[in-house]
């Protein structure tokens, strides 16, 4: 039974993957019309490009597909309309062409022939030997204007080319390349995607580690105070960070307006912009590093309590915390390509990062960039400052070692 469930789950996953493959093959995003896409692609896979029997396309019902080829100024939009109108089997296609006719399959205008009105040809080439008094549109086919032929309008080949083989085209000539189907060479393999993401992830991680180590080296007291603020006032930090994110732009606006309104301050506007941006970046980045420090400290102390031997220092805390924070992004690096699940992992990682950034930003604001210890739990309340500890029996440290051993009979 377990094996059956596993097989069923595997089938679901493979189906999802295949759906993703089809999505990539069509080159469009979204999950719309998956069934029709499968219908469109399967004949191409097994039969190659089908030869379409030349035929006229019946006019669609009043609410049915309709195109107006009088203006070919938006070829991509026209292509969408035509592809939407196509049905499988092809002879089920219905299309209304305003001021013209629609054809399926190869279409030729004889040298003695004159066609009045626009011509839309689906799934076939257009050979013009005679005269066309209107515009010509070909979907997935070439338009060839042979010697002696003339077109008194515009021509547009979607998924094909226009060949001016000696004929005369009065209007504009446009070609829109077909959407390229993914080939083995063009498609990016999953290992490549993972490798690229891993490289990016590693780069960001190393940057954060470098910045963090620099912060520990040059500003450890501040980092520790922000870190302690995170640990002691976590919820408060989050709320303050949230408020800070909301107010960051209005505050910036007020600052600039205030500077501009004062004559002397107007000179400081460029300086103010740079300083404000730098302060915001430092607060957010420093806050994230402080959260990493706090996480690392907690993890390290728990492990040490379980007997793990390590030297507790800020470098270790920071590295451990950053590794812990990176787990979500690491999951995205490895499994980000999986349809649906990849998106969910990415969303989770992004939300987690935002949450951590908000907490860190709030802690940085609360502690004024690691200057104010009020929320860091470092200040001992006055009522705790008694001299009772002087009378306590030393349990460890130098005084405990120096304490004379108890008499066996005492």
């Amino acid at each position: 039974m377990r094996a059956g469930k596993a097989a069923a789950a595997l089938l679901v996953v493979v189906t999802l993957i295949s759906a993703g493959r089809l999505e990539a093959a069509t080159g469009r995003g979204g999950w719309g019309e998956p069934v029709s896409r499968v219908k469109n692609i399967i004949p191409l896979i097994f039969l190659g490009s089908p030869d379409v029997a030349p035929q006229a396309v019946p006019t669609a019902e009043p609410q049915g597909p309709s195109v107006d080829p009088a203006h070919l100024n938006q070829p991509a939009a026209l292509e969408r309309s035509l592809r939407t109108a196509l049905r499988r089997p092809l002879d089920a296609t219905r299309l209304t062409v305003v001021g013209g006719t629609a054809r399926l399959g190869a279409y030729s205008v004889g040298s003695a022939e004159t066609v009045h009105g626009h011509v839309v040809v689906l799934e076939g080439d257009v050979d013009v030997h005679g005269h066309v008094d209107g515009n010509i549109v070909a979907l997935d086919g070439d338009i060839i204007v042979h010697p002696g032929a003339s077109v008194t309008g515009d021509v547009l080949a979607i998924g094909g080319h226009v060949r001016e083989a000696g004929g005369n085209i009065s209007g504009s000539v446009q070609s829109l390349e077909a959407v390229p189907l993914p080939s083995t060479a063009a498609a990016i393999s999953i290992p490549t995607v993972i490798a690229r993401r891993a490289a990016g992830f590693l780069g960001v991680f190393l940057t954060l580690v470098t910045l963090g180590f620099g912060l520990v080296t040059f500003g450890r007291p501040n980092l520790e105070i922000v870190s302690d603020t995170v640990m002691q006032s976590f919820g408060r930090s989050f709320l303050v960070g949230l408020l800070g994110e909301v107010l960051i732009l209005p505050t910036f606006g007020m600052l600039i307006v205030g500077l501009v309104l004062t004559v002397a301050g107007a000179l400081l506007v460029p300086f103010g912009i740079v300083v404000y941006a730098l302060l915001a970046i430092v607060a957010i980045l420093g806050g994230v590093l402080a959260v990493a420090h706090a996480m690392g400290e907690t993890i390290t102390r728990r492990r040490m309590a379980q007997g793990f031997k390590a030297s507790p220092n800020s470098y270790r805390y920071l590295l451990t915390g950053l590794v812990a924070l990176s787990v979500a992004w690491l999951a995205w690096v490895v499994f980000g390509w999986v349809p649906v699940a990849g998106g969910l992992i990415l969303s989770a990682a992004a939300i987690l990062t935002w949450f951590i950034g908000t907490v860190g930003f709030g802690a940085a604001l609360l502690s004024r960039g690691g200057i104010r210890e009020h929320f860091a739990g470092r200040l001992i309340p006055a009522e705790m400052l008694t001299d009772e500890y002087l009378w306590a029996t030393p349990q460890f440290g130098v005084p405990a070692v120096k304490r004379p051993p108890k008499e066996p009979g005492a």
Partner: protein
């Protein structure tokens, strides 16, 4: 399902996935458009190209215009609209859908465009280049008017040969971009206007001199360099706010800086300068006599 089963399932997917599922490839498409000359006496062209690399140059005499684009179909769609009644052309890319953030290499995403215009037909050209890197050479065209709007880009504009016809006005709007305009004398434009945000603009007046030029520069937090052939009379009327003006070889009279003998110079450039927090620099081209 047990933990072991889940582990096996994930492992299967991990190994099967790369084989079954190629990642989404980028959807780059090519678009081309051209139109023969059919007795038009003027072409009013408006180009839109938001990002990538763009080249604008003269084309074949028999073709009114020609465009070849390669674009990201998920972000943009081509547009080509010529109105024969007004001889106006709208050509380029328009954005579609949501831009979003795409994490991939820049080379993959790079859109390219090449626009060519008939050298025989008088051309009034407006190019909205957004964040595209532009290389423009309009030497040899029959230019009547030129407007280049660039946002955050690096544009190189040159007139390698003298233009035909009479260019009335050229306007360059640079947002946070760099514009390097060379051989402007070949353009023969009577008025050249530069409106800048925080960008830099260099205007070089080399080339075949046909008429005196009036230059209007309005810059904020940017830099303007005027490269003037030696022997040309130059007069700068400057309204500055926290701006520097490095005008070697010019004598000052109030807000006006002039070359000696400006009134009698054969070739004259008059510059009206409004600059706030901008640097204005004058460079003299050619050796001293």
């Amino acid at each position: 399902m047990t933990l072991r089963g889940a582990f096996l399932l994930v492992t299967c997917v991990g190994f099967a996935g790369p084989v079954l599922h190629p990642a989404d490839a980028q959807t780059m498409r090519a678009f081309s458009a051209n139109r023969p000359v059919r007795g038009e006496r003027l072409l009013i062209a408006s180009l839109d190209f938001g990002s990538g690399r763009v080249v604008i140059q003269p084309g074949q005499p028999g073709e009114l215009y020609r465009a070849a684009l390669r674009y990201d179909a998920e972000r943009a769609a081509p547009i080509q609209n010529f109105d024969p009644r007004t001889n106006s052309l709208h050509l380029g890319l328009e954005s579609v859908g949501s831009g979003g953030v795409r994490v991939t290499s820049r080379t993959q995403l790079e859109q390219t465009a090449r626009f060519e215009f008939s050298p025989d037909i008088p051309l009034s050209l407006t190019a909205n280049l957004g964040a595209a890197d532009a290389t423009i050479d309009l030497g040899g065209t029959t230019l009547t008017e030129l407007t280049i709007n660039s946002g955050a880009t690096r544009s190189s504009l040159a007139f390698s040969r003298p233009t035909r016809g009479e260019c009335r006005h050229a306007t360059f709007t640079v947002g946070a971009s760099e514009l390097d305009a060379r051989q402007l004398a070949n353009a023969g434009c009577g008025v050249i206007e530069v409106q800048g945000g925080v960008g830099r603009a260099a205007l070089g007046f080399e080339g075949e001199w046909r008429r005196d030029v009036a230059v209007v520069v309005d810059m904020a937090m940017g830099g303007v360099t005027l490269r003037v052939p030696r022997g040309t009379g130059l007069q700068i009327t400057a309204a500055r706010f926290l701006s520097t003006l490095d005008a070697q070889g010019l004598t000052r009279n109030g807000n006006v800086w002039s070359t000696p003998g400006f009134a009698t110079a054969k070739r004259k450039i008059t510059v009206e300068l409004q600059a706030s927090m901008a640097g204005v620099n004058v460079e003299w081209l050619g050796s001293k006599e």
